[in-house]
């Protein structure tokens, strides 16, 4: 055979598919052209050379973002494409890649079909052919990236640049540069990022980032869904019957018709007056000072007293912190103000914010690490170190790539579902614009690059469980702080400490805030370190205080009846219910189905039964369930709250 006629085989491996979603954008006029809404990056290895193709998509829903269904389709296809391998002579490569694409489309179609199985509407109009055409349009940027890799011709120059730093094909035109450089241009517009496969696990303080096995189920509960799930898990676990009236409210009732009510992260443990005292940070400061607890030196000012504020800052000495008296989630807080010019800027920013009419607290800046210590009743039940958003260098990837990788992992934490680290505030990942960090720089191995100064988890900070390491004097101070506010029985105590393992009086320490609505779920789902059952202790305290009866908590099977009311849109809700129960491997039986209500019996292990009951108030798109009652069928021997020994044992578990 003549060698000239034998074409050399080309080996193509799709190594990674990444998708970057951008923040919502709306046209200001009919002539206004919007930037792309997402970018697809496909990295491949072609005959040993790494190449990256980038394409952009412009699909937007009425909220200005890529729709959830579009995202789901893209991500199923991306996952399917990852690790695809093609080996073919040059002339046949295109055809082989076409086969990969066809197989991907088929897989996406089958997945979609599986998800909507039983819905007649889908079967009626979504024929295979038409759906494939829709899919091809929807996946065009992703499929184009794959096709880009089917063009293997590289010049000598191209090959050199590929080996030195990455070779990018963007919008069909080929040019040298790094992926990071392209993304850095629109960095502040990034809203979310996914990667298949996931990047290597980030590590913080010696802990690899946590993975939670129930993430795939919990993410269907959407943003803040874990709160409802945890309430259901313990309600059913303790043998309480429940009534849910919205995604964020639950009434749990015992055998003697005594009830406890939950709303968002709040329960009956604390009084409304205690909550109001915690919202007023100056009131909190005064109560902590009265209790001889460490509080940074400071005071409150009315919003129109910049001269008095400047005089005071000079008197107590820079650096200082300014914060609105009634702010929440760290909004409006400016830390480490080093001189009068920075103070003027901080006050100007406050005047532009929603806190413009609020009094302002000025206090000395303590440079310690930030902790959230969760107190339930008179005990510390959770302790988190809240570290500002950061990445650790590996000597290979740019700062931007490391950030995106960390974000991808963070978003798999159930507590952060739907809560992007790329936020609009001037903090966390969003603050890079102001700090002028070089996103394309490759940090050295183990170099820690920190973004912004916010330690608030809502603003991108990391949570690390430190409960077992907490020095007893620190825990005692947290409990005393909660005791200083009359009526406060559940609280997140925010402290600044140099070292949580050392005695509190042997270090610079200060309590900076008491949060009576501390988020439920952040100790159950810390990013790093051990999970803590804070909600369990909330239930036990409530039962104790309100004389309620709880059954012993076990993970045994639960058999419950669920009554759902509301606009259930005919059989749509029922089909969704069957699919959901099937997906969670929970046995279910329809007892009654009316126009605006249905009744089912559900049986299975506690966690999936709680997961299913949590989802009932959400339902499928287009339905509006307004009430869900869940009643246990089997009875176990009740444990009275008055049995102190038993209750103590339960709290100790």
């Amino acid at each position: 055979m003549n060698d000239k006629n034998v074409e050399q085989a080309i080996d193509l491996v799709i190594e990674r598919v990444e998708i970057i979603y951008y923040k919502a954008a709306f046209p200001k006029s009919s002539e206004n052209i919007l930037p792309p809404s997402y970018q697809v990056i496909v990295s491949a290895l072609i005959n040993g050379i790494h190449r990256t193709a980038v394409r952009e998509g412009a699909s937007r829903n009425r909220f200005g973002r890529v729709s959830q269904s579009h995202r789901a389709t893209l991500e199923v296809a991306a996952e399917r494409l990852t690790s695809s391998t093609v080996s073919a002579p040059k002339g046949e490569l295109q055809a082989k890649v076409d086969n990969v694409i066809a197989a991907t489309l088929d897989a996406v179609y089958q997945e979609k079909k599986k998800r909507v199985q039983g819905v007649r509407r889908f079967r009626a109009w979504r024929t295979n052919r038409r759906y494939r055409r829709d899919l091809t349009e929807r996946l065009a940027p992703l499929l184009s990236c794959v096709m880009d890799h089917a063009e293997p011709d590289l010049t000598q120059t191209d090959q050199r640049s590929a080996q030195s730093g990455g070779f990018v094909i963007s919008e069909g035109s080929r040019w040298s540069g790094s992926k990071a450089a392209i993304l850095a241009r629109r960095f502040i517009e990034i809203d979310d990022y996914v990667s298949f496969p996931l990047p290597s696990k980030p590590v913080l303080h010696g802990h690899p980032i946590n993975e939670f096995e129930d993430y795939d189920d919990l993410r269907l509960l959407r943003k803040n869904g874990t709160k409802g799930y945890l309430y259901y898990y313990y309600s059913l676990g303790f043998g309480l019957r429940t009534r849910r009236l919205s995604k964020f409210s639950l009434v749990a009732t015992d055998d003697h018709n005594r009830s406890m009510v939950f709303s968002w992260s709040t329960s009956q443990l604390s009084s409304i007056a205690a909550h109001a005292l915690c919202v007023n940070k100056e009131a909190t400061r005064q109560l902590l000072i009265d209790a001889d607890l460490p509080v940074p030196q400071g005071r409150a000012f009315s919003p129109h007293a910049p001269d008095a504020i400047a005089n005071y800052a000079t008197t107590i000495g820079y650096p200082v912190v300014t914060k609105p008296v009634n702010g929440s989630k760290g909004e409006g807080v400016v830390v480490n103000i080093r001189n009068q010019a920075e103070l003027t800027r901080a006050l100007a920013a406050l005047r532009r914010s929603i806190y413009r009419a609020s009094d302002t607290i000025v206090e000395r800046y303590l440079p310690g690490r930030d902790y959230r210590i969760v107190v339930v009743g008179d005990e510390v039940r959770g302790a988190l170190l809240r570290a500002p958003a950061s990445v650790r260098g590996d000597g290979e990837h740019s700062t931007l790539e490391l950030m995106l990788g960390k974000h991808a992992w963070r978003m798999r934490n159930p507590h952060f579902i739907g809560r992007s680290a790329f936020i609009d505030e001037e903090s966390a990942f969003g603050s890079l614009r102001h700090e002028r960090l070089d996103l394309t720089r490759v940090p050295k191995r183990d170099e820690l690059v920190t973004f912004g100064t916010s330690c608030n988890l809502s603003q991108g900070a990391d949570s690390v469980d430190v409960l077992d390491e907490l020095h007893p004097t620190v825990a005692e101070a947290a409990v005393r702080a909660v005791g200083a506010v009359p009526g406060l029985r559940y609280c997140g105590v925010d402290m600044l400490l140099e070292d949580h393992t050392q005695p509190i009086d042997a270090q610079a320490a200060g309590i900076i805030e008491l949060n009576a609505k501390a988020a439920i779920g952040n100790c159950e789902y810390p990013m790093f370190g051990q999970s803590r059952a804070v909600v369990r202790h909330v239930f036990l305290e409530l039962a104790d205080e309100f004389s309620m009866t709880l059954h012993p908590m076990t993970d045994h099977h639960r058999r419950v009846t669920c009554e759902v009311r509301g606009n259930l849109r005919g059989t749509r809700y029922l089909h969704w219910l069957e699919k959901t129960a099937h997906g969670l491997d929970v046995r279910h039986q329809l007892l009654h189905h009316g126009k605006r209500q249905l009744q089912i019996e559900v049986e299975g292990p506690l966690a999936p039964v709680a997961m299913l009951t949590t989802r009932l108030i959400i339902g499928p798109l287009g339905t509006r369930p307004t009430s869900v009652r869940v009643t246990g069928i089997e009875k176990t021997e009740a444990t009275s709250h008055s049995s102190v020994a038993t209750l103590s044992q339960m709290k100790g578990i």
Partner: protein, 376 residues
């Protein structure tokens, strides 16, 4: 009892429930701390660790999640329904709904009352809606009312429990078309307002046109009012509005966590003073603060968070309350001062209200009683 004129009192505050709690705290010689937003902490000088807190007239026995359930009228109805409390038939609709609200109103029968679903108590409402056109107008009226509207002072806790987030305000400054309103059958008859403290009715009034007259307790209304408060876990005190229709059947139409004190409370001052004293007694007993009854000739105030000089403070108090202020100490940088106020308990309470709510001071520590003056 020395009373300010109603006109002057209206300049001090329209939130009479919190003002009354403070007035009685001064009159009864409690030491207390006061913060803006009608936040009050009563304490016992002998046992300083024991404290009882109030926000307006809502004491420590009322819990945070319970208040959310009361502010959300659909949840409030659900809790009352679970306890078999009779209410007028009602249902919620989105502002986007067109035909369903009218169909529902026809089914239950006009006239109906249109209420805000998520908002402060007693509910913002439009009454006497007796046809479809009026129903649409009433819904539009309710939709236009935003939590930030200043036509009445809002509770200091209302915004912080996501009151505003329930209503997406767009450019048009309306509630979102997805948010909901409540239609209730309007029950006509005799209207009673029962004040429940510690689970028991302590004062009952009856509507007489635009005012409320104190009456001796009406048995069935009292029983129903107590049951209504008991239906909400984590609530021991509140105000219940009951309508008894022409057949004698009572219906709960409103339930508020605050004591809803009428503007004309000074006309029946003794009754409302006794009510608030009972509230303080219940809350203090509940938390363990001892009652200290003593005569009050003046009050020592330690103020914090002052960023205006003592002249401003003196002028503010003299202009409205007519009180002379003796300034004992003042530290401009620290923003602190100690002052002595001499006057009646209501005058002193009013002065403290002005200092806190006009943001003259962010912290006020009060020690009422003539014997304190010697410390100056």
């Amino acid at each position: 009892m020395v009373s300010m004129s109603e006109h002057k009192l209206n300049q001090v505050s329209t939130q009479f429930d919190g003002l009354l709690v403070q007035y009685r705290a001064v009159a009864r010689g409690f030491q207390f701390e006061r913060f803006p937003g009608q936040l009050l902490i009563l304490s016992d000088s002998k046992l300083p660790a024991r404290k009882s807190s109030f926000v307006h007239s809502v004491g420590g026995s009322t819990r945070i999640s319970s208040v959310t359930f009361l502010l959300q009228k659909r949840f409030r109805r659900a809790l009352l329904e679970m306890a078999d409390i009779p209410m007028p038939p009602g249902a919620t609709f989105t502002f986007r709904s067109r035909s369903s609200p009218a169909r529902y109103a026809e089914r239950v029968g006009f006239p109906v009352v249109v209420k805000e679903v998520f908002g402060e108590n007693p509910s913002v409402q439009v009454r006497d809606v007796d046809n479809d056109a009026k129903l649409m107008m009433a819904a539009a009226q309710i939709r236009a009312i935003l939590p930030t509207d200043k036509w009445r002072q809002s509770s200091s806790y209302a915004q912080s429990i996501n009151l505003s987030s329930a209503e997406d305000v767009g450019d048009s400054l309306l509630k979102s078309s997805d948010s909901r309103y409540l239609i209730e059958k309007q029950v006509n008859g005799s209207c009673y307002r029962a004040f429940v403290v510690g689970g028991r009715v302590r004062l009952m009034t009856q509507s007489a046109g635009i005012s409320w007259q104190v009456i001796s307790s009406k048995g069935d209304v009292a029983v129903l009012s107590e049951a209504a408060v008991a239906a909400v876990p984590g609530v021991e005190s509140g105000t219940v509005d009951v309508v008894v229709d022409h057949t004698g059947e009572p219906f709960v139409v409103e339930l508020a966590e605050r004591l809803v004190i009428p503007d004309s409370w000074q006309e029946q001052e003794d009754a409302y003073v006794r009510l608030v004293d009972q509230l303080i007694d219940f809350e203090c007993q509940w938390i363990g603060v001892a009652d200290r009854v003593g005569s009050v000739g003046g009050c020592l105030l330690h103020l914090g968070g002052l960023d205006r000089g003592p002249q401003v403070l003196q002028a503010a108090l003299f202009n409205v309350v007519g009180l002379d202020v003796t300034v004992a100490e003042h530290d401009e940088i620290a923003g602190t001062a100690s002052i002595w106020l001499a006057g009646s308990a209501l005058d002193i309470a009013s002065a403290i209200e002005i200092l806190a709510e006009q943001k003259i001071a962010s912290v006020i520590r009060a020690s009422p009683g003539d014997e304190i003056r010697q410390w100056l």
